[in-house]
C-alpha cells in the first residue's frame, strides 16, 4: 500500500510517533516470554528459587545449557538432548519433503486439471486439518501395528505425512489458483503432458509457496509431541519427548534453569527457520496464496 498517509503535517508526525510507540510496546509484550526463558536459563538454581522472574542474573552461567545438551536426564539415559536431535531430523526431513511434494501435485491437479468433483475432493481433503490428534491416536496405533510400522521412524513419517497433506494441499491449491491459466492451456495445446507441465512451468514459480509449506510443516512436525511419544520406539524418540521427560518429572526435583535451556535448544531449529526465512514466508503468502 502506498503513500496515502505520507502527508507531513505535525498531526501526521504525531500519529506516526504514536504508531511506532504502539508497535514497540506490542513487540515488548511478544518478547516477554522469550526474555524470561533466556534469563532463567542462565541463572544458577539458587537464584531461581530465591528470585523474581525478570531479574537479571547476578551470576551468569552457561552450565544449564551445557547440561541440557549433554548430561541432563531424560529417563535412565542422562545424555541430554543431543541424541534426540538426530531422531527428530530423521523424522522431520522425509515427512516435510513427502508432504510438500504430495501437496504440490494435489494442488496442481485440483486447479489446472479441473474435473468434475474437484472442489468436493478439495473440501474433503481440507477436513483433515481439523482432526485432533488425540482422537486418532488409538486407531492409528492399531493401523501401524497391522502395517508392521509400530515404534519406528517410518511409522512416524507416515503419520505426519498423512495429516500434513491437508495443509500442504490447502497452501498449494490456493497458490496455484492464482497462477494464470493461459500458460498452462497453451502448453496443453502444444501437447505437453501432465507431469511435464508441472515440472517445466509450475514448479519454477512455486518457490514462495514451497517455502511456506516447508516452514509450516517443519514447525508442526518438529514441535509434535503426542505422535512422537506414542509411536516412536525407545531409540527413535524425537526431541519433544526428551524435553517433556526433562521438564515434567512427577516426583523428582526440578531444575528450572536446565529446563529452560533445554526448551530453548529444542526450539532453536524452528526459531532459526522463522527468523531467517520469515521474509520468504510473507513473500510466499503475498504471492497469491491467500487470495483464494
Amino acid at each position: 500500500m502506498d503513500n496515502v498517509i505520507r502527508r507531513r503535517t505535525p498531526r501526521a508526525r504525531l500519529l506516526r510517533a504514536g504508531l511506532y510507540a504502539l508497535l514497540i510496546a506490542a513487540a515488548l509484550v511478544y518478547l516477554l516470554p522469550l526474555v524470561v526463558m533466556v534469563l532463567t536459563s542462565v541463572k544458577p538454581i539458587e537464584e531461581i528459587r530465591a528470585g523474581a522472574l525478570l531479574s537479571l542474573p547476578s551470576h551468569f552461567t552457561l552450565d544449564p545449557w551445557i547440561k541440557a545438551w549433554s548430561s541432563a536426564c531424560t529417563g535412565m539415559r542422562c545424555d541430554g538432548l543431543s541424541g534426540y536431535f538426530v531422531n527428530s531430523i530423521k523424522i522431520v526431513v522425509p515427512a516435510v519433503a513427502i508432504s510438500t511434494l504430495v501437496g504440490a501435485i494435489n494442488g496442481y491437479a485440483l486447479t489446472k486439471w479441473r474435473f468434475r468433483g474437484s472442489e468436493l475432493v478439495f473440501a474433503m481433503l481440507l477436513f483433515g486439518c481439523f482432526v485432533p490428534f488425540q482422537v486418532v491416536l488409538m486407531p492409528m496405533a492399531r493401523t501401524l501395528g497391522w502395517l508392521g510400522l509400530a515404534s519406528s521412524v517410518s511409522g512416524l513419517v507416515l503419520v505426519h505425512v498423512v495429516y500434513g497433506i491437508a495443509f500442504t494441499t490447502l497452501f498449494f491449491r490456493n497458490y496455484y489458483v492464482a497462477v494464470p491459466d493461459e500458460m498452462i492451456n497453451a502448453a496443453k495445446l502444444d501437447g505437453a503432458g501432465f507431469f511435464r507441465i508441472f515440472w517445466r512451468i509450475l514448479l519454477p514459480v512455486s518457490g514462495p509457496i514451497i517455502t511456506v509449506s516447508v516452514i509450516w510443516q517443519f514447525t508442526q512436525i518438529w514441535n509434535d509431541f503426542l505422535f512422537g511419544v506414542a509411536f516412536a520406539g525407545f531409540d527413535s524418540q524425537p526431541v519433544t519427548v526428551a524435553l517433556n521427560n526433562m521438564v515434567n518429572t512427577s516426583t523428582g526435583v526440578k531444575e528450572y534453569n536446565v529446563d529452560m535451556a533445554a526448551a530453548m535448544i529444542a526450539a532453536l531449529p524452528t526459531l532459526v527457520v522463522y527468523v531467517l526465512a520469515g521474509k520468504y514466508f510473507v513473500r510466499g503468502l503475498t504471492a497469491g496464496s491467500v487470495k483464494g
Binding site: 496515502v4 504430495v102 481433503l125 486439518c129 481439523f130 491416536l137 488409538m138 524435553l243 483464494g292
Partner: protein, 310 residues
C-alpha cells in the same frame, strides 16, 4: 491406396492417439489425487467412523465391541465437566479467533505503513508460532502466576493494589488461555493480512485518494472487503488451532483451577486414556467434531461458492 486414403488413415490414427492422450489427460489428475483422497478416506473419515462406533460401545480401558446404544451420549450430557468444557470451547474459540483477527489486522495495517525495521518487528510478532506450547507453557504459567509473575512485578514497581490473578480464579482462568493462544497465533494472522494488504492493487488507493476519501473510510470501504479471502484462510487456521488446543491447556492450567479451563480436547484425552473410559471419550470426540462441522460446513460453503462466482 490413394493419397486421400492414407491421409484419412493417418488422421484417424492421430485421432486415435489424441483420444488415448485425452483419456490419459482425464484420468491422470484423478489418479494423482486418488492416493491422497484414499488416505483421507481411511485415516480421517475411517477413523471418525471407528470413533463413532466406539462411542456406541461400553469400551473402558481398551476397545471392546459391546454395543450399548446411545448410553455414552446420555452419560456425556449428564456430565458437568463436559458442559464446562463445551462452554469453554465456545468462549475460548470465539474470543481467540476474534482477537487474533483484530490484532493481526491492526498489526498488519500498522506494519504496512512503511515502517523502518519492518523485518525485525515482523519477526518479533511471528516467532511465537515457532515455539511449541510445551516449551512456552511453563513460562506463561509463571508470568500469569500472581505471586511470581506480572502481578508481583507491577506490585514491586509500587502499584500495591494491582491485581492480575486471573490464572487462579476459576471464572477468569479461561481468559488466560486466550492470552497465551493469541500471543502464539496472532503473528501468523498478521503475516497473512500483511500479504493480503500488499496484494491489493495500488490503483484502488490512488482512486480513493483522488476522490478525497479519508483514511479510515478507505480502509473500511476498500481494504477490508478485499481481504475477505484472507479472513477465510485465517479463520480456517485459527479454528484448527482452537479445536486442537490441548498442549496449551495442559501446559498453562492443567485444566484447572478444578476443571474450570477444561476443553473438549483435554476432556476427551483424560477420559479415553487416563481414566480408561474409551466409550465416553469417543462420544465426546464425536460431539467435538460435530461442533466443528456445524460451524465449518456453512462457512466453507459460503466462501467456496462466493469464489466461484466472484
Amino acid at each position: 491406396m490413394t493419397p486421400t486414403d492414407s491421409l484419412s488413415r493417418a488422421s484417424s490414427r492421430r485421432a486415435g492417439r489424441r483420444s488415448l492422450a485425452g483419456t490419459l489427460e482425464r484420468v491422470l489428475p484423478r489418479l494423482v489425487v486418488a492416493p491422497s483422497l484414499a488416505v483421507a478416506l481411511f485415516f480421517v473419515y475411517g477413523y471418525m467412523l471407528w470413533t463413532f462406533i466406539l462411542s456406541l460401545t461400553g469400551s473402558r480401558m481398551l476397545p471392546q465391541y459391546n454395543f450399548v446404544g446411545l448410553e455414552q451420549y446420555a452419560r456425556l450430557f449428564a456430565n458437568e465437566r463436559w458442559h464446562v468444557a463445551a462452554t469453554n470451547l465456545v468462549v475460548f474459540g470465539g474470543l481467540f479467533i476474534a482477537i487474533c483477527l483484530v490484532l493481526g489486522l491492526a498489526l498488519a495495517i500498522f506494519l504496512d505503513q512503511r515502517i523502518r525495521q519492518e523485518g525485525a518487528l515482523r519477526t518479533i510478532y511471528l516467532y511465537p508460532m515457532a515455539l511449541s506450547l510445551i516449551v512456552t507453557g511453563v513460562v506463561w504459567r509463571w508470568l500469569l502466576n500472581p505471586s511470581l509473575g506480572i502481578e508481583a512485578l507491577v506490585q514491586s514497581w509500587g502499584f500495591e493494589n494491582f491485581r492480575f490473578d486471573w490464572l487462579v480464579d476459576p471464572d477468569m482462568a479461561i481468559y488466560t488461555l486466550v492470552i497465551a493462544a493469541v500471543w502464539q497465533a496472532s503473528g501468523f494472522v498478521m503475516a497473512l493480512f500483511l500479504a493480503g494488504l500488499r496484494g491489493i492493487d495500488d490503483s484502488l488507493f490512488k482512486a480513493a485518494a483522488l476522490d478525497g476519501a479519508s483514511l479510515p473510510r478507505v480502509y473500511w470501504r476498500i481494504v477490508l472487503p478485499c481481504l475477505r479471502p484472507v479472513v477465510f484462510s485465517a479463520v480456517m487456521i485459527l479454528a484448527h488451532i482452537a479445536i486442537k488446543s490441548f498442549d496449551l491447556v495442559m501446559a498453562l492450567t492443567g485444566g484447572g483451577p478444578g476443571y474450570a479451563t477444561d476443553l473438549p480436547a483435554t476432556f476427551m484425552y483424560a477420559h479415553t486414556f487416563t481414566r480408561g473410559q474409551i466409550g465416553l471419550g469417543s462420544a465426546s470426540a464425536i460431539m467435538m467434531l460435530c461442533g466443528v462441522l456445524a460451524i465449518l460446513i456453512p462457512y466453507l460453503y459460503s466462501e467456496l461458492r462466493e469464489r466461484k462466482h466472484g
